[in-house]
Symmetry: C2
Subunit: 191 residues, 2 copies
C-alpha cells in the first residue's frame, strides 16, 4: 500500500497492470537487500494452500473471455497451488506449470472462499488482491489477518484499500517491522 | 492516522472535535503504557519553537470570530510557544498560560510559515494539523519531515491525510517503530 492508501496507481492497463507509479509499491519485495524485506518476501506465501484474487490481478480485461490470454503471471506463476479468480464470466480452469491452476468463480466471494478453503485443507487461504477483492472480503468480515506493506510512496490516486469497508472492522496489531523500503504491519481483523 | 488514512473521523463537532471514532487515533499518546509510545508522546514537541495549525484544530467554528472562545486546548495548552492559526477572519492574538500565544494568520500558508520560522529562530516549526492544513503544506513542498502514527483503527470516512497532495511528493523512511497502539513512521519529504 502507498502511504496514501492505494494498492495500485491510477490508469491500470495491460502495459501498466499496477497503474501509474504502482510498481514502486513492490520494490521492497524485489529490490530491497534488507533482511526484514527479504525474509518477508521469501516466506509470505508459505503455508498457503489456495489463493483468491480478482480478475484484474489475474490478467485484467473485461467482459467475456476471448483468446488464450493466461494472465500476467508467466508460465510458472509464484502460487504453486489452486488460485480462485473472481469474475462474472465463466471459463474453464487454466493449468500452469509448477502446480498453479487458475479456477474461475462466477458465483460470488462466499463461493470462492468455500472452494478455496476446501482446496487448502489445513493450510491457509490467502486473499491476494487487488483492492476491490480484498475490500469485499474485509466488508464481509471473513478475513482473520491482514498484512500491510506500506511503501514510502504517494500515488495520489488509484485503487484504494479499505474503500467502502466501513468502521465496523476492528484491527489489532500483531507485529510491526520496517525498512527503508516498506513498513510491515500484521493485523488481526475482527468486527 | 487511521489504517484507512484519516486523521479525524466524520462529522466533527464541538462535542466530538476529532469526529466520530477519531479519539481512538490518539490512544497511543494518552493510554498506551508501552515504552515506545510513552517516549514518543513525551518528546514529540521537544525542540519545536513554533506551531502552525488550522482553525479547526484550534477550536473549530466558521465565519467571523465572536464571543470569547479560546479553543479546546484548555487554559494551559501543551505548546508553550507561539502557535499560528490559519483562518480567513482576523482576530487579535490570544495569550494563554504556560507561554502559548495563538496568533491568527489571514494571509495564507506561506505568510504563516514565515512568521512561524521567525518566531522559532533556530528551533523547529511543527505543522500540527489538521488534515487540510498539513495537506496544503505538503502540496506546497515545504515540509521536510513527516511523522505518521498509524492507529489500528478503520474510520471509514473523515478528514483524509494526503488528499490532493499528488504524486510529486517523495518520501524516504527515516525511522520505524511500533506498538499495539500505533505504528510510527518518520519520513523525510521531498518533491
Amino acid at each position: 500500500m502507498s502511504a496514501d492508501g492505494f494498492v495500485a496507481g491510477p490508469n491500470q492497463s495491460l502495459d501498466e497492470p499496477l497503474g501509474v507509479g504502482g510498481e514502486a509499491l513492490h520494490h521492497w519485495m524485489f529490490q530491497s537487500t534488507e533482511d526484514v524485506d527479504r525474509e518477508l518476501a521469501g516466506s509470505m506465501l508459505d503455508g498457503v494452500g489456495a489463493f483468491i484474487m480478482g480478475r484484474n490481478m489475474f490478467g485484467g480485461g473485461r467482459g467475456p473471455w476471448s483468446g488464450d490470454w493466461r494472465g500476467w503471471w508467466g508460465d510458472d506463476p509464484p502460487y504453486h497451488c489452486p488460485v480462485f479468480v473472481l469474475t462474472h464470466h465463466p471459463r474453464e480452469p487454466v493449468e500452469m506449470d509448477g502446480g498453479t491452476t487458475f479456477f474461475f468463480v462466477t458465483d460470488g466471494i462466499e463461493a470462492a472462499l468455500a472452494s478455496a478453503r476446501e482446496a487448502a485443507g489445513d493450510d491457509d487461504v490467502m486473499i491476494a488482491g487487488g483492492a476491490s477483492c480484498v475490500n469485499q472480503y474485509l466488508a464481509a468480515g471473513v478475513i482473520d489477518e491482514l498484512v500491510l506493506h506500506i511503501a514510502p510512496v504517494v500515488l495520489g490516486d488509484g485503487a484504494r484499500l479499505f474503500a467502502g469497508v466501513g468502521p465496523d472492522v476492528t484491527l489489532e496489531v500483531l507485529a510491526t517491522s520496517g525498512s527503508a523500503a516498506a513498513t510491515h504491519v500484521t493485523y488481526r481483523v475482527g468486527g
